[in-house]
Each structure stands twice: as C-alpha cells, then as structure tokens.
C-alpha cells in the first residue's frame, strides 16, 4: 500500500474525569477506506473527535502527512484537508440545504469553487437538488444524513471521517450511500468510517480496526476480519 496519511499512536482521551480512550494506535494509508468497528460506547466516535480536533488528546500523538496535529484546533483541520461528518448529522437546522452545503466550503481553500462544488454534490445526491431551498431542520432523517455527507465533501478533503453514515437510513439508501462513499474513495479521498453496520462497512473497506473499551484489539484487511471467528460472533451475529 501507499504512504501513511494518518497515524495515531497510543492516544488517550476522555471527557472530564471519564477516560474513553486507553491508547489507540492505528494507521490510515493514503487512498484507502478504513473501517472502525466496535460496540456501542467502545470509543469510535471519540477516536474521530480526537482526530478532527474536537477533543484534545490527553497523551499520544496524531500524525497527518507526518506532521503532529494533536494540538491543532478543529477549525484549522478543515483547511489541512480533514473533514469530519459527525454522528447525528449536526446540520444547521434553520438554514436551507444549499446554505448548509455552502458552509461546507467555508475555508479559503475551497471558497472560490463554491458553485462548482455545490453542483457536484447535487449530482451525487439528486434528492438534495430537489430540496435545495428547504430548511434543513425539516428534512427527514435520511435526507439530513445526505446533507451531512455532502457538506463534508464540500471541503474537498483528503481525509474524510464518517461517523455512522448509515444510521437511520433505509436499506436502499444505505446501499446508495455506500456506493457514493466508494465513488468518493475512487477519486482519491481517503476515508475513515465508523460503522455499526459491520457487513456493509467492511464491504467497502480495504481494512478495519476493531475497538473495544477504548483500545484497538484487532486489525486486518476486510477479508481477514470478515473471516475472523471473534468478529463474526460479536458483530455479525453469525
């Protein structure tokens, strides 16, 4: 595989007195799609939050293109090319779909290409084109998820962090979304995806990490993980 884009080394983090991550170490190669798998509360979301700077790690290092970014603030990450599509959509509820997307291209790097980028998202998610001036808060759950992903892509990230993109989506839409993610990955964007939906998650990934109680307990290529007895028992219900 190609060069390492992102690397976490013994990252520890938590909320107040509560420690959520106990030394997470993982690597994301450039151009790959990597899954983060784990039960509820395992620390997957926390891992993404630490990467995108929403949460500052207590210790450990996070390298992006070889540079330590563990002290970089969230708003500077976007300019560097890391885009985080958070769990629970987190749209701007009183703004239109279009304005939500526009904000995705807030940073100076992408701002000049605003119009073109919006058009690209509408091509990717035709449903959103229909709803372009609807107020985001009144969209259905699935529509909101699409806006969230599209908004994340507006920043033209080199690393896209996706937190449970299939949450609350109909099976058909899940398929579509995963297809879109694969398309995005094909354009050269590196993707780190957190999924409960392990089968689908791994099916589009090159490799995955299994997180339990705030630490990585297992890793391997998607095929290996799918074949792993432990994984099959715990996450595939097989």
């Amino acid at each position: 595989m190609s060069e390492t884009l992102l690397a976490l080394e013994s990252v520890e983090a938590g909320y107040g007195d509560f420690q959520a991550l106990f030394g997470v170490t993982l690597e994301v190669p450039e151009g790959a799609v990597i899954s983060l798998i784990g039960a509820n509360g395992a620390g997957k979301t926390t891992t993404l939050r630490v990467i995108s700077g929403l949460l500052r790690p207590k210790s450990g290092t996070i390298r992006f293109r070889g540079e330590d970014i563990s002290r970089v603030k969230a708003h500077e990450m976007v300019e560097r090319g890391i885009s985080h599509v958070p769990e629970g959509r987190q749209l701007f509820p009183h703004m239109s779909v279009e304005e939500n997307l526009a904000l995705g291209a807030y940073v100076p790097r992408t701002r000049p290409r605003l119009k073109k980028l919006i058009a690209e998202q509408f091509a990717l998610f035709p449903k959103l084109a229909e709803r372009r001036s609807q107020i985001a808060g009144t969209l259905s759950g699935g529509e909101q998820q699409m806006v969230a992903i599209a908004r994340g892509l507006m920043a033209q990230p080199s690393l896209l962090l996706l937190d449970e993109p299939s949450l609350g989506l109909a099976p058909k839409v899940v398929d579509e979304v995963f297809e879109k993610i694969r398309e995005v990955a094909r354009t050269g964007v590196t993707v780190l995806i957190v999924e409960q939906n392990v089968v689908d998650g791994l099916s589009i990934s090159d490799a995955g990490y299994v997180v339990e109680n705030g630490a990585v307990v297992l890793s391997g290529s998607s095929k290996e993980l799918m074949a792993n007895e432990q994984v099959r028992a715990a996450y595939l219900g097989l």
């Binding site: 995108s52 700077g53 929403l54 603030k73 969230a74 708003h75 500077e76 990450m77 976007v78 300019e79 885009s83 985080h84 958070p86 987190q90 749209l91 701007f92 509820p93 009183h94 703004m95 304005e99 526009a102 904000l103 995705g104 807030y106 940073v107 701002r111 107020i135 009144t138 908004r151 920043a155």
Partner: protein, 291 residues
C-alpha cells in the same frame, strides 16, 4: 388632524425610525443572529455618542465625518469585550449573559460618569439650524435627513454583509449549531467576536447620528436597549431587513401615537404592539413563519 399634519408626523417618524433601525440592526446581529442577550446595547450606543462628542469638542470634527472612526473604535471595543468577557461564558445559559451584560452596562455607565461627569452635553454646528421644505407643507430638519441617509447606507451594507457573505453565514451557523461550526473550519470565537464588534459598532454609529439632534449624558442609552429588543423580535429575530423595517415602523408608530393620543403613551404603544404581534404571529411581523 389634517392630512398634512399626519403626513408630517409619518415623515418625522420615518426619520427617527431610521436611527431605531440602525440600533435594532446592531441588536439583530448580537441577539437575533448570535443569540447573545445583550442588555448593554444602549450603553454601547451611549459610548458612541461620547466618542463622537469628544471628537467634536477636541478636534472639531462633525459627527457626519467622525462616525466611521467611532465605528472602528467601537468595533475594537466590542471585539475585546467579546473576547475577554463573553467568550468565557459561551454555551452557558441566557441567565448568565443577562447578568454579565447588565454588569457591563452598569460599570461602563458609571465609569463614563466618573470621567465626564453626570452633566448633560450637546453639540452645535450650522447645519443643525437648516430646515428643508418638501412642497409647501412638509418640513424636515437637515441633520435628521443626513442621519437618515447615512443610516440607510450603513444598514444596507450590514444587510449585504450578513446575508451574502460567508462570514455572515458562519455567524448564523454558529448560532444554530455550535458543535458543527468548527467542523466547517469556522473559528468560532473569532467570527463571534467579529460580529459582536460589528453589532456594537452599529449601535455606536446610531449614537453618532443621534448626537446632533439629541443630548448626551451617561444614562442616555438605557431607553434604547429595550427598544432594540422589541425591534429585533418584531423584525423576526434573524432578519436584518426585518429589524430595519421594524425600526422604521416603531418610529412611525411613536410619532402617530404622539399625534393622535399623546406622547406619554408612545412607549406603552410600542410594547402593546409588540405583545399583540407576539401573540398573533410569534415569528415577528417580518420574520419567516416557521412550521
């Protein structure tokens, strides 16, 4: 009351209303868009008046030339106040913002009294004596017209800036979802401080423009704080244009109330209209109706 008297009252109301509109637009940024409950708004307006006054007395610059400087200075002050005082309590309840801004208002007002004394001041320059005649029945006082023009241009600029620039969108985005804003690359506090400063500076400019036709004392701004809140809500909270229209409307309503009922009821009528609108149309007269 004959037609021209009424028309004259409406014209006067519009002119006064333009200044209300400017105060209200500043508040629409701070309160309507950023949801910072600012009980010191009138105080900032008063500071603007004092700054203008000092420039007039010390450097003989009339308000119509000095207001950009005042705006700039007050922008800086607003920026600092946000960074030093409001930033630490961001995300706390409205209660704390109210206490804090009340505290800021009291402290600044008293500080001004300690520095400039409690005495009243006013300024004088030749333009103030000029009256313009529109037709044979309508007369307007020149300084009000100049102020109206400046308020219009300033307000229009502000509107464009909020609605059509990325920075304005960012301010609204923060108000709607603080958690997601940084994920867009928005530097939350820098943007908030910027817009807070701008809101303060709009209030201060309104103060500059009011100075020629009014007088000045430390508590002069107090009556404008509540009016600004009323204007913002009538205008539909986030709407800058709404605030501008509500400001003008309030000016006209006050003028007509004075004409037909009595000046002492003007303020009460403001509030009564406010209550009426809120109960019939909670999103304000000019606000977009939300489902």
């Amino acid at each position: 009351m004959d037609f021209f008297t009424t028309l004259q009252a409406v014209v006067n109301g519009v002119l006064t209303g333009a200044l209300y509109a400017l105060v209200g637009m500043g508040m629409a940024l701070i309160f309507g868009v950023m949801r910072i409950v600012n009980f010191a708004h009138g105080t900032f307006m008063m500071l603007g008046m004092y700054a203008t006054y000092v420039l007039f007395v010390q450097a003989h610059v009339v308000p119509y030339y000095s207001f950009p400087l005042v705006a700039l200075g007050m922008y800086g002050l607003g920026y600092l106040i946000y960074m030093a005082l409001l930033r630490p309590i961001h995300g706390q309840s409205d209660f704390m913002q109210i206490l804090l801004t009340l505290g800021i208002g009291l402290a600044i007002t008293d500080a001004i009294q300690l520095v400039f004394g409690a005495d009243y001041h006013q300024i004088n320059f030749p333009l103030l004596e000029k009256n313009l005649h529109l037709g044979s029945h309508i007369t307007v006082n020149a300084p009000w017209v100049v102020s109206f023009g400046i308020a219009l241009v300033t307000g229009g600029g502000l509107y464009f800036f909020v609605m059509h620039t990325m920075s304005g969108r960012a301010a609204r985005a923060i108000a709607q979802n603080r958690y997601a804003a940084p994920l867009m690359g928005i530097h939350l506090h820098r943007v908030q401080a910027f817009w807070f400063g701008l809101g303060v500076s709009a209030a201060a400019v309104a103060g500059s423009l009011l100075l020629p036709v009014f007088y000045l004392y430390p508590g002069v701004g107090d009556q404008f704080t509540l009016k600004a809140f009323v204007i913002v809500v009538l205008g539909g909270m986030e709407s800058i244009v709404g605030a501008a229209m509500a400001g003008v409307l309030l000016g006209v309503v006050e003028s007509l109330t004075s004409l037909y009922w009595g000046n002492e009821w003007a303020l009460a009528v403001d509030f009564a209209i406010f209550l009426l609108v809120l109960s019939l149309r909670p999103s304000g007269i000019f606000g977009r109706q939300k489902a």
